[in-house]
């Protein structure tokens, strides 16, 4: 299936259209952050400004469109700049882990034999460890901070890509055109790249788009638990961690502080949703053809 | 000899089953008529895609509806029109009065239930017996279809049996309620030739035992010759020739049938070449105007490209849908000479 046809179908499918619009929406916000929410300290744009030192979160008002979180962090600012953080986290993690996965999977599948076995066992070991636990453990070791979170997630996020890639390679390897290229004397690398990877990229695209969403969720979970972004950083999960006390502590009043949870939580949900919609639509478009 | 004066068991009149897909309407069955008399075997022969399976599924009302639909026609079973019945009523008939077996014995049985279970299911639905009796009946059926050690086999799973045995199980299942008609859709196509012969023999002997009619659908002319009493040849959704089996093989009166006969080796004829029919079966989304065979027919004239011929009685009991049967006869006479 040609790229052009895929794109056209993406636009036609209502579900993916919504996803696409959402992503573009987020993208625009991310790019336009400096204008939409000008930083009070240009050298540290990711630190959310505080409107005071009071503890209690303030509801949305004309001054703070989304209200303030505990410690008077402006939620609106956090959401806008948090969009950038989300994209950054997503792209870096998915990009690097996919790259690793593709590399590992392709090599394992192409060369086969004991190399393949060894690589697969290593992959299995990594897969056997529960994702969140592993991420927590690793961040414990590496220390707090977004960068370490990203490292942790990359370390445990490449396996699915690797397996996918490997199975694709295995099925393509025996296809005639690969054998033909080999017979014509095309070098190993050329064969791998041109024929194998380009033909098997589609399921990976599906997988990658789904993982954009799940990685952002995991990263925000870690921030929420206090292991990720430092306090006051513009990260959606981080902002929700402030909300914890107010939701649990308040008796009968919790809903008053809805904005501390719903707004950042909604941002995460919508972000993830949009990627999932696109990934799902991709799967619809590409799957019956693949079969 | 079949007594044709009996009440017709099945009377299909101008059946039209279309499939409405995104790419267009597929006229899988486009005006098909035939009859089946009690106790006889009607062979339906044609290439893949000619509509023979869809015809049988239409009779059983198993067409997936969207996108398929029986647009027109009546299917009379003992006088009752099956197209007018609802699914609940059809279910009483399926497996009971009319049974069907399919091409792929390897995948036609549910892998997670025992063979006996699946046979008993049919029995328990349609007959008023308890489980113990049903089990005994299932074992009896297995014996009748020639499966050794039936008391053991009845508790085995499909994957433990070979293809030939699975097909026997399918036959047992379909005959368990003593149907009046058995529809067999390419029952031997997926089997080895030796097993094929066994299965056909089994079907013939069971037919005599149970006194049922068989609708045998296949693309294999050899099979048709062996089991049928009468034959309907289908092409592109229509019946193009309809006759007694001996008349069909001895004296085909449609260019398509004649072409088919000449494309396979004959023990008696001394041919220099096997002539395949030129061209391909037309795309069902885009049938040609007029007679659907005109693009491949050596006798085609302008009339064939415009008007579609209907089945007409050319000799007693022998029908053909062709404008130029006479030309075919001329050509045949030349060949004999």
């Amino acid at each position: 299936m040609e790229w052009q046809e895929v794109v056209v179908r993406l636009f036609k499918n209502k579900i993916s259209l919504i996803g696409l619009i959402l992503i573009i929406f987020f993208g625009v916000i991310a790019i336009g952050a400096p204008w939409i929410a000008p930083p009070s300290d240009p050298s540290e744009p990711y630190m959310v400004p505080r409107a005071g030192w009071g503890f209690e979160p303030q509801p949305p008002s004309s001054e703070h469109i989304f209200g303030t979180a505990e410690g008077q962090y402006d939620i609106f600012y956090g959401i806008i700049w948090g969009t950038r953080t989300a994209f950054r986290i997503g792209f870096i993690i998915v990009g690097i882990s996919s790259f690793i996965g593709i590399l590992v999977g392709t090599l394992a599948g192409y060369y086969g034999g004991w190399f393949d076995e060894v690589v697969m066992r290593i992959t299995d070991i990594f897969m056997a460890i529960p994702f969140l636990i592993a991420a927590i453990v690793m961040t414990t070791i590496l220390g707090q901070g977004l960068r370490n979170v990203m490292i942790a997630l990359i370390t445990f996020g490449w396996m699915n890509s690797a397996r996918l890639m490997r199975s694709q390679v295995l099925s393509i390897k025996e296809e005639e055109f690969v054998i033909a290229a080999d017979a014509l004397g095309a070098g190993d690398f050329r064969i791998i790249f041109k024929h194998v990877i380009l033909n098997t990229i589609f399921p990976l695209v599906i997988e990658a788009s789904m993982r954009m969403g799940s990685m952002v969720i995991t990263a925000s979970t870690l921030s929420f638990l206090g292991i990720g972004a430092p306090e006051g950083y513009a990260d959606w999960g981080q902002m929700i961690s402030f909300a914890r006390n107010w939701i649990l502590g308040g008796e009968g009043n919790a809903i008053k502080y809805w904005f501390t949870v719903v707004i950042p939580g909604g941002a995460i949900t919508l972000f993830c949703l949009s990627w999932n919609l696109i990934g799902d639509a991709f799967r619809d478009i590409l799957d019956p053809k693949l079969q | 000899m079949i007594d044709l004066s009996n009440e017709k068991l099945i009377d299909v009149n101008d059946l039209k089953t279309y499939f409405h897909t995104e790419e267009g309407t597929v006229k899988a069955v486009d005006g098909v008529s035939f009859e089946i008399y009690p106790g006889e075997t009607l062979g339906i022969v044609g290439e893949s895609g000619c509509g023979k399976s869809v015809t049988s599924l239409s009779i059983m009302r198993l067409i997936e509806s969207p996108p398929g639909k029986i647009e027109n026609g009546e299917i009379l079973f003992n006088g009752k029109d099956l197209t007018e019945l609802n699914q609940k009523q059809m279910r009483k008939i399926r497996g009971n009065d009319i049974s069907m077996i399919f091409q792929e014995p390897m995948t036609s049985l549910n892998p997670v239930y025992t063979v006996g279970d699946q046979i008993m299911e049919a029995i328990l639905i349609h007959k008023d017996v308890n489980k113990k009796q049903a089990r005994q009946e299932a074992i009896d059926m297995l014996t009748k279809v020639g499966i050794p050690l039936p008391e053991q086999r009845v508790d085995e799973y499909p994957h433990q049996l070979s293809g030939g045995m699975r097909q026997r199980v399918m036959i047992a299942m379909s005959l368990s309620c003593d149907p009046q008609l058995l529809i067999a859709d390419e029952p031997t196509t997926a089997l080895d030739v030796t097993i094929q012969a066994q299965i056909l023999e089994l079907m013939n002997s069971l037919k005599r035992q149970f006194g049922m009619a068989i609708m045998m659908i296949t693309h294999d002319l050899g099979v048709i010759a062996e089991v049928s009493d009468r034959v309907a040849v289908m092409y592109a959704g229509k019946v193009v020739e309809y006759a007694d089996v001996k008349d069909l093989y001895g004296d085909p009166k449609h260019p398509y049938t004649w072409g088919l006969m000449y494309s396979i080796p004959h023990i008696e004829k001394d041919l220099e070449r096997l002539e395949a029919i030129p061209g391909n079966v037309p795309n069902p989304l885009n049938f040609p105007e007029g007679c659907k065979f005109n693009t491949r027919c050596q006798f085609a004239t302008d009339k064939c490209r415009v008007d579609e011929p209907e089945l007409e009685e050319v000799e007693e009991g022998h029908y053909s849908a062709c404008w130029h049967v006479d030309k075919l006869e001329e050509r045949k006479a030349k060949e004999e000479a």
Partner: protein, 210 residues
Amino acid sequence: MSRVLAIIGWSVPTFVFGLIMLMIFYGTLGWFPPSRLDSWALDIVNSTGFINYTNFFIIDGLLNANFAIVGNAIRHLIAPVITISILWWAFIMRITRSSMLEILRRDYIRTARAKGVTENVVVYKHAVRNALIPVVTVAGRMVLGLLGGLVITETIFNIKGLGQFMAQAAQQLDYPAVLGGTLYFGFLLIVINLCVDVSYAIIDPRIRLE
């Protein structure tokens, strides 16, 4: 429609969902409180008259014939259970659905219909068991993810369990605790995978004989 629901369910982060659940059902309505028991119930459980056989409050409540405890314990369980599982409901729903769609296209389904089997029986007897096979595979691997969700849920709902333990240990950089907890998780995993394999054999007779 169910597919859209499934995708949405899959997109909501567990902790956000948990917090919202708390917000609505506890904070506002007071139906499903966090923790495992209310304070009055805790007093009873810790008193001398109440015998703690298992420390599972529901079971102990039954064994001590104290239904108030049982009711209270259940009430506290509802929100966390829903929170932890909603993600996976969505996932399993999708997989089951696509698996069913796939199975319903199979030949033996057609055979069943040709026998005169009612549509209900076709679906629930013939199709479901076959469709469940890939679902069970996924369910097994999903337990892994469930354990992760445990961490968050326990933290939010203030339930003293393995999850909360791990989260706090990580926060406090307590290496031995983290390692020990991980080891235990690993053990649980193995046990669960065993159960999955056994259930495989129950569902699919083709696997039994090997």
